[in-house]
């Protein structure tokens, strides 16, 4: 270092980057072969389209059918041309907006990461809450023909929001990667179903018991994995989820195995059943019976359960136990050296997260009226975890956005019938949902590596409240 400095004492002083930048300003732009020009973008897209045409000719353009006496070749010019056009347009758009431009929009998205300012996110929160509260009436008023379908979808989304919030306690706050969360969902669902079947329990009586049972199972899972972290924890929880499912599948005498349990009772409104005729809800209030009442009622139950989950989580975050969860996520050794009982802290995270999973499971059972182990596969765990991760670990509003996008997205796929005109009548967009999920996840992780809402709101403020500049609360990278 010292030797090289004596030879060129000054040249080391200017940073290399600054030099290059200065050079770039001095050089006039060369229009002929400027890699960022529109012409270059079009040329590039055309090359890509040509390649797509060549490669796709046999895969897409030619179709073989079995015909009497051999194979029958059919040309599918439409599909072939469409695929070329898609490649051309896609590549061109990417060139113009991302690859061959000085201002890629991806960068704009990135600098805006965590970009939701405090007021915007607060407003959004209250707006979403207000909408959630009036949602059934919104749909019955404005979409009377499709209100059942929409409210049913809202119930589904709300269930996932609740599951996401429950898992967020374990994964987002306590940092314990749980791949078997669906086990607690299953425990909750089966608790209610079995209590109803064998002991004639109603929904409201079974609900707290189901939560309690799920919490107990959370602890049972928690004990053996106390010393595990990261990958190892993930694998054990994954196995745990599968074990629960396999037990439910094989314990035929008790759970009816793959046949599932049906005839699970519906919840009552303070003892009133939501049924037609004498003694029902409509009859009691003197209104005309409408099956939509039951959907609205179910919606408000899950909304209330989800809001309770959220309120409890937000409250816990401000209490020592919630802070300890977050500290545990950050640094376990430091936690121990500060006198935190890490064992109990982890167990409570597992138990409370599991409890909400159990509540959601009970609700699922009562809504469906029928459950079987098939509803509790690893895919469910993966979807819930994806909701938490995409939402931004630990962010409550992120879970809402991710649930709406993902669960609503699947539903949207069912309504893309027009694509069949393009890709042929055998094309079922729903079959591609995992592909699209994967793609969406990759894209979100590229643009927003910490999830949609990556800012972490501090749980406490110093009593002398000051305006805190964005620079002061920016996230440290790498954690």
């Amino acid at each position: 270092m010292a030797a090289s400095n004596t030879n060129a004492p000054t040249s080391d002083v200017t940073p290399v980057g600054a030099q290059a930048e200065a050079e770039a300003h001095r050089l006039p732009p060369a229009p002929a072969n400027n890699p960022h020009s529109l012409a270059a973008s079009v040329r590039d897209a055309a090359i890509a389209a040509f390649l797509a045409g060549v490669l796709g000719f046999f895969f897409i353009g030619v179709r073989t059918d079995i015909a009497p006496g051999g194979l029958d070749l059919r040309m599918r010019w439409g599909a072939w041309i469409v695929s070329i056009l898609v490649v051309f347009a896609g590549r061109l758009l990417l060139n113009i907006f991302v690859w061959k431009t000085d201002k890629p929009i991806t960068r704009r998205v990135k600098t805006g990461s965590g970009g939701m300012s405090e007021t915007v996110s607060k407003t959004l929160k209250y707006a979403l809450l207000a909408f959630a509260l009036i949602l059934p009436f919104f749909f019955t008023t404005f979409f009377p023909g499709k209100d059942r379908q929409f409210i049913d979808l809202a119930i589904l989304i709300m269930t996932y929001i609740m599951l996401g919030w429950g898992l967020n306690i374990v994964v987002g706050l306590a940092g314990l990667l749980d791949l078997g969360y669906v086990a607690f969902y299953a425990v909750g669902a089966y608790s209610f179903a079995l209590l109803a079947q064998y002991l004639d329990f109603g929904f409201w009586l079974a609900l707290p018991l189901a939560g309690l049972l799920a919490a107990t199972w959370g602890m049972i899972l928690g004990f053996p994995v106390l010393r595990l972290r990261g990958d190892y924890l993930a694998i054990v929880t994954l196995a745990f989820g599968e074990i629960i499912r396999v037990v439910l599948l094989n314990w035929y005498e008790f759970t009816k195995g793959p046949d599932g349990i049906s005839g699970i009772p519906k919840p009552t409104f303070f003892g009133l059943e939501l049924k037609r005729g004498e003694g029902g809800f409509a009859d009691f209030f003197g209104i005309a019976y409408d099956p939509i009442h039951r959907f609205i009622f179910l919606y408000y139950i899950i909304l209330a359960l989800a809001l309770i989950t959220n309120l409890v989580t937000m409250r816990l975050r401000r209490l020592p136990i919630g802070r300890a969860w977050e500290a545990l996520r950050e640094d376990e050794i430091a936690c121990r050296s500060l006198g935190i009982n890490t064992r109990n802290t982890k167990l409570t995270a597992f138990a409370i997260g599991a409890m909400f999973g159990g509540f959601a499971g009970s609700f699922f059972a009562t809504r469906q009226g029928f459950i079987s182990p098939e509803s509790f596969t690893f895919l469910e765990s993966a979807i819930i975890l994806a909701i938490v991760v995409l939402g931004g670990l630990g962010s409550q509003i992120g879970v809402v956005i991710a649930s709406v996008v993902m669960i609503g997205g699947i539903e949207l796929l069912r309504n893309l019938g027009f694509l069949q005109q393009v890709f042929g009548s055998g094309f079922d967009p729903v079959q591609y949902r995992m592909l699209i999920f994967g793609l969406a996840m990759v894209l979100i992780m590229v643009w927003k590596p910490r999830g949609l809402v990556s800012t972490r709101e501090p749980s406490a403020v110093y009593k002398e409240k000051k305006r805190i500049g964005a620079d002061m609360v920016a996230q440290g990278e790498g954690h």
Partner: protein
Amino acid sequence: MSGAAELLLAVRGVETYYGNIVALRGVDMDVHRGEIVTLIGANGAGKSTLMMTICGDPRARKGRIVYDGMDITQMPTHEIVSHGIAQSPEGRRIFPRMTVMENLQMGAALVDPDHFDKDIEKVFKLFPRLKERIAQRGGTLSGGEQQMLAIARALMSRPKLLLLDEPSLGLAPLIVKQIFDAIRELNEKEGLTVFLVEQNAFHALKLAHRGYVMVNGVITMSGTGAELLKKEEVRAAYLEGGRH
């Protein structure tokens, strides 16, 4: 320190293993109430291990650790800490995504919340920088600020005995001086007992009342700070290159 001072921490014949690897081979050490005691030694000598063993993580396989008249050798870490031993572990280990305020709250996790406001003002007087940065994430603090936070966080638990592992690690001389001044002030004004592990032997021995030298998991020398500073072996091994 007079020899009659009350014994706060006594380490007797402590042996600690990591699996089958021995890290401490019979350590004896005393810390009296109101003292600053420093432990110096080469990399890998076992200094951090001793500090962690005092906190029960890892646990001593042989020997006894007595703190304030209690045998804490087999106590769980969180109980040991609740009896008034606070630690600022090696490498600071602050909570990076949590704010300075939340880090300090974590330090006070075991303390009656009524003390919080008073205690936080006290650490702010010691480290005014932290007050300016109260809402900043721990991970975005500078190294020196992080060290201050680590010490402040430990102080929030109202310790009787403060264990500091290499607080000068990676800090500029000026910041090291600030931190050492703060330690001295805590000791003189509050009578806080401090056990300090340091690589910066010169400063540590100047600050401490007494010191120990550890080599390969055993204590090889002890004496007052001034005595050790004069010893030829210490100068040769730990003060090479003169005053740091």
